[in-house]
């Protein structure tokens, strides 16, 4: 007799933010059908356990990019994986489910599935989430097989079932009837289906882990936050982004429904902080206003939320909107500004000017909402002059101090499948890829070049990135932890690249 129908586990590696949504939502769906389940977040557990180890950065590189690590890290990590495999087996579940946020969750998922099957060959395992749905086999050393990652996992016996794309409609059938194989719902959830999803259940997560470790607003404040989804897809189609390839339609919940979910979680689970998983929380101004109005009316300045936000063209967001956001509990927004150069942003199809950015920055600051900018380095058309405009932008707002403003130099441009740059512009923009083995540090899709912008080489891009990291740190716009992590990654990118070129 099993104790649970399923345990849903969120797998490393991703940045620690709020309690992850997928296991909590799957648990809620199972609750509706009378299935007993529980949830675990191994992403935060692993990161807490290694954070003070001297080789922590090497382990992160391994998890993200499948590269080797020091022996001490290797032994520690595999012991950790084995302990967790035993923990899961001892839960005595009919199914163990792994939720993969991105390809960076694949490495760990391979290792844990391998260890579970080694210890208990007949344990049923199901895998889902974007990390497997994109079927990206570019990061593993068997691309010659021309097989999708999902097929490789099933055929080698590492798991029993895989859900591609939205799992909400097929999960129950698999769990109840022990179905095996690959399942693809084949379509995005509709507006109605999204509205009908149950409120996620966060009650089984070990909340103390987040209280002590999750700097949910990237500030000093630490709290337990739940993840909420208001929409799927995106209203923009930025040239470097692949969201459109797996969520082609922008579908959103009614604003009232989003507010209902937050209030229900607050009232039943005692959670006051929320992270919104939307590509853009203000993708639909209608739903965003509805949500803020409902929250401001029913629970003014009680709960806090944050999420990804877009600078809209002048006039589309009013002063009243900013006040409403603050009243509803919006504490922090992350804005994909990407570049200080209008020319670069126009090419990206970001659709906002420097004036739009200025209005947004000042308006957010005025109502006390903190802001974090994501900046990308080495965009396809970016020149040294464009790059300097990005540094100028950072300098221009030096009067807004950390943590009211945080700058995140996220990384260099990846041109990967699913993005318009890769899918439609390669030939037109003369983009070619260097012949770099896929297992190298950094994505395979980092190593591109174009004759149309010869100064934008991989080495130059990383060098500019390094410069921007130092610049932002010198201007107190990032934490020491983020600074060290970024510097380590940039250093390894260049070291590994040079090593490969020498071979």
């Amino acid at each position: 007799m099993t104790s649970y129908h399923a345990v849903f586990v969120y797998t490393p590696y991703s940045k620690i933010d709020a309690m992850p949504l997928a296991p909590a939502l799957l648990k809620a769906i199972c609750n509706q059908h009378g299935l007993k389940t529980t949830t675990l977040d191994y992403n935060i557990e692993l990161q807490i356990d290694y954070k003070d180890k001297p080789w922590a950065g090497d382990l992160v590189s391994y998890l993200m990019h499948f590269v080797g690590m020091p022996t001490e890290a290797y032994d520690w990590y595999w012991n950790w994986v084995e302990e967790k495999a035993k923990e899961l087996i001892n839960l005595n579940c009919n199914w163990i489910g792994f939720s993969l946020l991105s390809y960076q969750s694949l490495c760990f998922t391979h290792d844990i599935c391998y260890t579970i099957k080694k210890l208990k060959p007949n344990q049923k395992i199901i895998i889902g989430g974007s990390g497997i749905s994109k079927d990206d086999n570019t990061r593993v050393p068997f691309k010659k097989s021309n097989k999708y990652m999902s097929d490789i996992m099933l055929e080698t016996g590492m798991c029993n079932a895989i859900i591609i794309n939205e799992g909400e409609n097929v999960l129950i059938d698999i769990l109840k009837n022990n179905k095996t194989g690959k399942f693809n719902a084949g379509k995005q959830l509709t507006h109605e289906e999204l509205n009908q999803l149950p409120t996620p259940s966060y009650i089984d997560y070990k909340t103390d882990l987040y209280k002590d470790n999750s700097k949910i607003f990237h500030l000093t404040e630490q709290a337990v936050a739940a993840t909420i989804t208001g929409s799927k897809g995106c209203v923009r189609r930025c040239t470097f982004c692949d969201v459109y390839s797996f969520e082609p339609k922008f579908v959103f919940k009614d604003g009232e429904r989003i507010a209902d979910e937050m209030i229900e979680i607050y009232e039943t689970q005692g959670i006051t902080h929320f992270m919104m998983s939307d590509s853009l929380i203000n993708g639909s101004m209608k739903a965003f206003r509805q949500m803020n109005t409902a929250l401001a009316k029913r629970l003014p300045r009680t709960i806090n939320y944050y999420g990804e936000y877009i600078a809209r063209p002048k006039g589309q967001t009013t002063d009243e909107d900013y006040h409403l956001m603050a009243e509803a509990g919006c504490k922090h927004v992350i804005v994909g500004i990407e570049s200080g150069s209008e020319a670069v942003r126009n090419h990206m199809k970001k659709k906002f000017t420097n004036e739009d950015i200025d209005i947004m920055i000042q308006s957010l600051h005025k109502v006390g909402i903190t802001q974090e900018w994501n900046l990308m380095v080495g965009y396809l058309t970016e020149t040294r002059k464009d790059f300097e405009e990005t540094m100028e932008l950072v300098k221009r707002y030096k009067d807004i101090k950390f943590p009211n403003m945080i700058v995140n130099p996220t990384g260099i441009l990846h041109i990967f499948p699913g993005s318009p740059l890769f899918d439609t512009h390669l030939r037109q923009l003369d983009i070619e890829f260097e012949n770099i083995p896929a297992e190298a540090v950094g994505l395979k899709w980092d190593f591109w070049f174009t004759k149309q912008n010869p100064e934008n080489t991989f080495e130059n891009r990383v060098s500019w990135w390094n410069e921007l990291i130092d610049f932002c740190y010198a201007h107190d716009y990032m934490t020491e932890y983020r600074y060290n992590t970024k510097k380590h990654l940039a250093k390894r990118c260049i070291e590994e690249y040079k090593k490969i070129l020498q071979k």
Binding site: F66, G68, T71, Y74, D75, H110, D111, C113, Y114, K117, K118, L119, P121, V140, P141, F142, K144, S145, K147, I152, E155, T156, G157, M158
Partner: protein
């Protein structure tokens, strides 16, 4: 599924022996084939290949310090038919014990009566991450 590819070298007779996977004898006779499929477990596996019918004085013919005729089995390739990965560096995790009690490095070459033992993890993309390969 893993495919083993052999070079079979005969001198008036075929080499003979066993193929054993995780203590299960899958073959026990002459090596009259060049490929052989095995189905490993997810996890650790032990593959043993033996040679048991060689009579050195009769089967190995040497002229001018060169072996011109012999009876032996050479494990040429270990390939996962699902991922198309081919294992190299077979000696990193293998041993060859002859019936005379010697331990030899053979690079997959079985030219004495004895047992070649190859320890590997499956799938290979997990095995390839083993620290053995990057130390």
């Amino acid at each position: 599924m893993i495919q083993l590819t052999f070079d079979i070298i005969e001198n008036n007779k075929l080499p003979r022996g066993k193929i054993i996977l995780n203590d299960n004898v899958l073959h026990n006779n002459f090596y009259d084939f060049t490929t052989f499929d095995i189905k490993p477990n997810v996890g650790s596996n032990i593959l043993q290949i033996t040679l048991d019918n060689k009579i050195e004085k009769e089967d190995t013919v040497i002229e001018n310090n060169k072996i011109i005729k012999d009876v032996c089995v050479v494990l040429k390739e270990v390939k996962c038919m699902i991922t198309k990965e081919i294992l190299t560096n077979l000696d990193v995790s293998s041993s060859y014990a002859t019936d005379k009690g010697e331990q030899l490095k053979t690079y997959g070459y079985l030219s004495y009566n004895g047992t070649y033992t190859f320890n590997f993890d499956y799938p290979f993309f997990i095995f390839q991450k083993n620290k053995l390969f990057y130390q």
